[in-house]
Symmetry: C2
Subunit: 218 residues, 2 copies
Amino acid sequence: MIEYSEKQLLIMDTALQLFSEKGYDKTSIRDIAHAAEVNIAMVSYYFGSKEKLLEALFKKHFTFITGKLESILYEKDSTAFEKVEQIIDVFINTLYSRQRFNRLMTREASVLQEGPLFDMIFEMKTKNRKLMERAVKAGQRLGVFRKDVNVFFLSSVLIGSVNQMLANCRYEAQNAKLEGAEAENFQQKKIDILRSHLKQMFIAYLTQPELIDKSKNG
Amino acid sequence: MIEYSEKQLLIMDTALQLFSEKGYDKTSIRDIAHAAEVNIAMVSYYFGSKEKLLEALFKKHFTFITGKLESILYEKDSTAFEKVEQIIDVFINTLYSRQRFNRLMTREASVLQEGPLFDMIFEMKTKNRKLMERAVKAGQRLGVFRKDVNVFFLSSVLIGSVNQMLANCRYEAQNAKLEGAEAENFQQKKIDILRSHLKQMFIAYLTQPELIDKSKNG
DNA sequence: GTTTGAATTAAACGTTTGTTTAACTTTGCG
DNA sequence: CGCAAAGTTAAACAAACGTTTAATTCAAAC
């Protein structure tokens, strides 16, 4: 874990705020320097370049997030149902509390083709599925979950839903001109609904008797 | 509906390809002109500016997509279950067949705060929910769907899942160095699984008996 | 064949971009 | 204090950007 000075952290926080609001490309180093009230040259001085600053941001938040996610693996023994609910909670809480970084990451992820950022995101996606797989297999071993669960599917639903919900909230709040506490309240309510219904939906799906797949021939 | 000349359509198609691959900001007018084998000045000549070109792209694909989505409203009578499955099919098919535009739109949507693009996307989000609401209410009227379904939740799950699945496919294909037909095949299989399991999950959730919401006090 | 307006071109425009330079200030240590 | 390293600054840099200009080519109408 890299240690950063207060000034470095100030630059990183300011950059994250601007990157998430305006996008990485539309945010200039001058914007960051002005908002953080430091000289333009400080970014290059501390981080090397604008892109390296982005990488530093990714590394910082990734270590935090993956740490959170992995901690659930070492939770006290709990039922398969509880494990699934725990996973949903951890994902929602993490994506919600770090939504600025999440928005930046999702946006940049959509155009990456290679490089350190691509590798980090790919690793995280794989980790997410591993986490999901554990809980599912536990339930299958106990015979309470259906056998044909697809983890690739489940993790897409979980993460996709949270991101889409957050994006929708932003649009609704923006359109209704909600600000500050009002916007946060609106978002919080929607997230609570998402949390509750997502759990119910996952359990309903996981405990559903398997159907014959009509798309298969034979 | 605006009519475009062949050359205008060539520019628009090329722009969409580059925008979706590299992102709007990282694609220069020179890139587009070079790829389309036209002069740099033609973009401004035909569309006025780079941003107006993006708006033209949005308008063009929006009219197509909203048309597709609305057509389902006038489908022959079908059961509530069929209606839900139809909606899932239409969404997946549309997002899949126009995934380049979908990727561009999702990416730009995440940083929009106002303007014509914001309005277009907001209108589409609202339309999506209206469509979903119809099917849900039909099922509720017949007494086969639970009463506490949240449409905001359902549409987030549907659209978010598809987008996340497509994003994951791109990452997996990129990482496994799949190309052309191989990558398409991989994606097609994942989409089929998504389609099948999403339908099962939605039906399982919608027909689930309502639970007492523990988060409410009273 | 001439004319007229659209299509097309290469070149240039002024800005903004990320980055670097070189000078200056501050800080910490012997 | 004296000095070296780190921090900080304003200024300058070349490159890339979106856009415009002015000249030229083209195609159709008369």
